[in-house]
């Protein structure tokens, strides 16, 4: 060691107790603030701009476990899966430039599906910002349209307060992603920090108390409705309103139809459930909405995949819209009555209002809907969800049925995007909220595997199954390594149809079978691929193999992957073509 270096080694303080503790560095403040927010897990990927933070994370590894992903998109989807399964805020950490751009898909996905996550991105040092420095991108600018809020931390003294506000924003009101962009020098500078640090700007508290008069008007309208339908979405899940919803629907015997995001918010097998509505929803749910005289929309946003052609959506219905986000109300369909409120509180208030009424009034309300229920039951008999069985080919719908049987309906199901996603939504009846994790608004292929891993981290002992397509699996399958490394024993079911199936279906139905660029027949051997990662893997080609292979995969202790070779040209039915109305529903392929 040179003499000069030796001089740099600090000498022991004479009176250690009196020595003033240096103020913490930005990176340390970040970690402390995260711990104060209850964070114990972070999904991330290091790089130059976050080196200080990673150095600090290493020191704090007994308080926060970092999960090293294999691609930043995976980190954010894992944070989402974690958040969606647990209701807690998921956290991802990535570096500047390419780290941040790789994270964008996940951020946009969380924004569309109102998932509470905080994404921390590194940034080049403050003096280099705006100079096209190495690995510099304007992260705050790029993410602005797809975050609930974002920050560029310019002063280390603000950092703690920003972290606390970010978590508050992510989880309150309509939840969503918040990005904190931290320049490298800020993470090295020192400042004092207290967990009580808060932002100077008063955050407007979202109104969650439903307006009393609106509640009683809504209750009256519901009591008097002859053909009501409850159209419920992700807001039920986010506000933890499933119990209230069930109690309210049961009290008045109201039919309920969940959106794709609302699945699990109402038990699929409940006798009041009409099944999912929308593009691939049930005949009954879509007909019910078409004929309804009162639509009770809770925690939904009248998305085009639900409404089809807006002008003919629920044409005879008055609409009561309950949502926490005022901007959702009247966006696509002007309601006749709106309640800006938390879904659970609104439903509780409605139930209280109804039960305060004369019992005979409730009975009258229920009995005047007998004909409506006859009609609904008739539709259910007429067009139940169904598929044609096969002796020599595995039917994808059958895979989901078997999965449901073998898991006793208790598994947490995460999906990718495509046909398999819709079959999972249709054929796996969900019992409870947060059992269903899918990419709804953005429809991002690649979501399934990492989302399942995140959910598995939230519930280590739960059975978590990722249902994915052969296309989407190839977008993020590298995260199998993450699952193996941290012993997060997800089960991956690849519905292998050798196609970008959903796109192929549209080409078959709406483009005269011109199969343009949807052939995935050149693919790796998924069993060998999974084994190469160290996972247990099996393949099922024939219907008689399916149960055994599924069972083996589900029973395996660790990560398992099964490659289920399904009928290549199976289609998802029913389908309401984009922009059409419910009555134009198609039930089977032409010529079948």
């Amino acid at each position: 060691m040179s003499a000069q270096a030796a001089l740099l080694i600090p000498t022991e303080p004479l009176f250690p107790a009196l020595e003033k503790q240096p103020m913490p560095r930005g990176a340390e403040i970040l970690i402390q603030a995260l711990v104060h927010e209850g964070v114990d897990s972070i999904f991330g990927y290091p790089g130059g701009a976050v080196l200080h933070i990673y150095d600090e994370l290493w020191r704090a590894r007994d308080r926060i476990t970092h999960y090293l992903v294999r691609h930043e998109q995976g980190a954010v989807h894992m944070a989402e899966g974690y958040a969606r399964a647990s209701g807690r805020v998921g956290v991802a950490l990535v570096t500047s430039g390419p780290g941040a751009t790789n994270a964008i898909t996940g951020i946009a996905n969380a924004y569309m599906d109102s998932t509470p996550i905080v994404v921390i991105t590194g940034q080049v040092p403050l003096p280099l910002i705006g100079t096209d420095a190495f690995q510099e991108v304007d992260t705050v600018g790029i993410t602005r349209p797809c975050v609930k809020h974002n920050y560029l931390v310019r002063d280390v003294r603000d950092l703690g307060a920003i972290v606390h506000e970010a978590f508050h924003l992510a989880r309150t009101g309509r939840p969503g992603p918040v990005v904190i962009d931290i320049p490298k020098d800020v993470s090295a500078e020192r400042a004092s920090y207290s967990r009580l640090d808060h932002i100077r700007f008063p955050v407007v508290a979202p109104i969650s108390r439903p307006d009393k008069r609106a509640v009683s008007r809504a209750a009256l309208a519901i009591l008097q409705a002859k053909r009501p339908v409850m159209y419920v979405g992700g807001g039920i899940v986010n506000s933890g309103a499933a119990e209230e919803l069930r109690a309210f629907a049961e009290a008045l015997q109201l039919p309920v139809t969940p959106t794709l995001m609302g699945l699990g918010g109402f038990p699929s097998a409940h006798n009041l459930s009409l099944g999912m509505l929308g593009m691939h929803g049930t005949y009954t749910a879509n007909m019910a909405v078409s004929e309804s005289d009162l639509l009770i929309a809770v925690g939904v946003r009248f998305d085009d995949r639900v409404t089809g052609k807006l002008a003919t959506f629920a044409p005879h219905a008055r609409v009561i819209h309950i949502d926490i986000d005022p901007a959702n109300v009247g966006k696509n369909r002007a309601p006749d009555l709106s309640l800006i409120a938390d879904a659970r509180e609104a439903l509780a208030a409605l139930r209280a209002e109804v039960s305060a009424r004369d019992h005979t009034e409730i009975v009258r309300s229920i009995t005047q809907r007998t004909r409506w229920w006859d009609q609904l039951r008739g539709w259910q008999r007429e067009q139940p969800l169904r598929f044609n069985g096969s002796r020599d080919q595995i039917k994808p719908q059958h895979v989901i049925r078997e999965l449901h049987r073998l898991t006793g309906g208790e598994a947490i199901i995460a999906t990718d995007v495509g046909q398999h996603q819709m079959w999972a939504a249709q054929f796996y009846p969900f019992k409870r909220e947060r059992q269903w994790i899918t990419s709804g608004g953005l429809g991002a292929m690649g979501f399934g595997v990492p989302a399942a891993i995140g959910a598995q981290l939230a519930f280590r002992d739960a059975l978590v199954v990722a249902v994915v397509g052969d296309g989407g699996f190839q977008m993020t399958n590298q995260e199998l390594a993450t699952a193996i490394q941290y012993d997060l024993p997800v089960k991956v079911v690849i519905m292998n149809n050798g196609y970008l199936g959903m796109v192929r279906q549209w080409q078959e139905m709406f483009y005269e079978r011109t199969y343009s660029e949807v052939d995935l027949s050149v693919a790796p051997d998924f069993v060998k691929l999974a084994e190469a990662y160290g996972a247990f893997a099996r393949r099922a080609r024939h219907p008689e193999e399916l149960s055994e292979v599924l069972e083996a995969a589900l029973a395996h202790d660790g990560v398992s992957v099964i490659d289920v070779v399904v009928e290549k040209e199976e289609n998802v039915f029913p389908i309401v073509p984009a922009g059409a109305n419910a009555r134009d529903m198609i039930f089977q392929s032409e010529g079948v």
Partner: protein, 179 residues
Amino acid sequence: MNHTLSIVVADQPGELSRIVGLFSARGFNIETISVGATLDPQWARVTIVTRGDDRTIDQICKQCARLARVREVQDVTTRPHIEREMALITVNAQEGLQRQEVLNLVGVFRAKVVDISHEQIVVEASGNKEKVEAFIEMLQPLGIHEITRTGRIAIGRLSNVEVVPTAELEEDLFAVAAH
């Protein structure tokens, strides 16, 4: 229909582009925009003039209102208010008759001469949109060299009773004259 939106937002980098982004993401054109301090230096007021039906405007107001750093959003068009904008105009004004003509118009429109050369004059005009536009129209035949216009700003009237000061009356007259 034209709407004048008045938005109070934290005076911090990036906040303005959040607001503007909400308009561009929906394909809305911003006709004018102006930003200035409020009494409290932490907050700035953004005044945006845009066009749209009541429902879309209502939607955009709600979107603005949910931004974390926006304190209030008002569509001032819905209540009694006063609007002003300003223009700086370089107009040809050769010494002699032409110059006399410009100065006459400046007097009639209660505008101001702020710079002058042998060939041209820079004038400053302020008032409501109609007045400023009427003035520009009158100057046009003389040969306008350049125009810079501010965005519109607005403030609520003190009461709903129209107490119209004399200057206001004149301006209203101009509004008629312009048509």
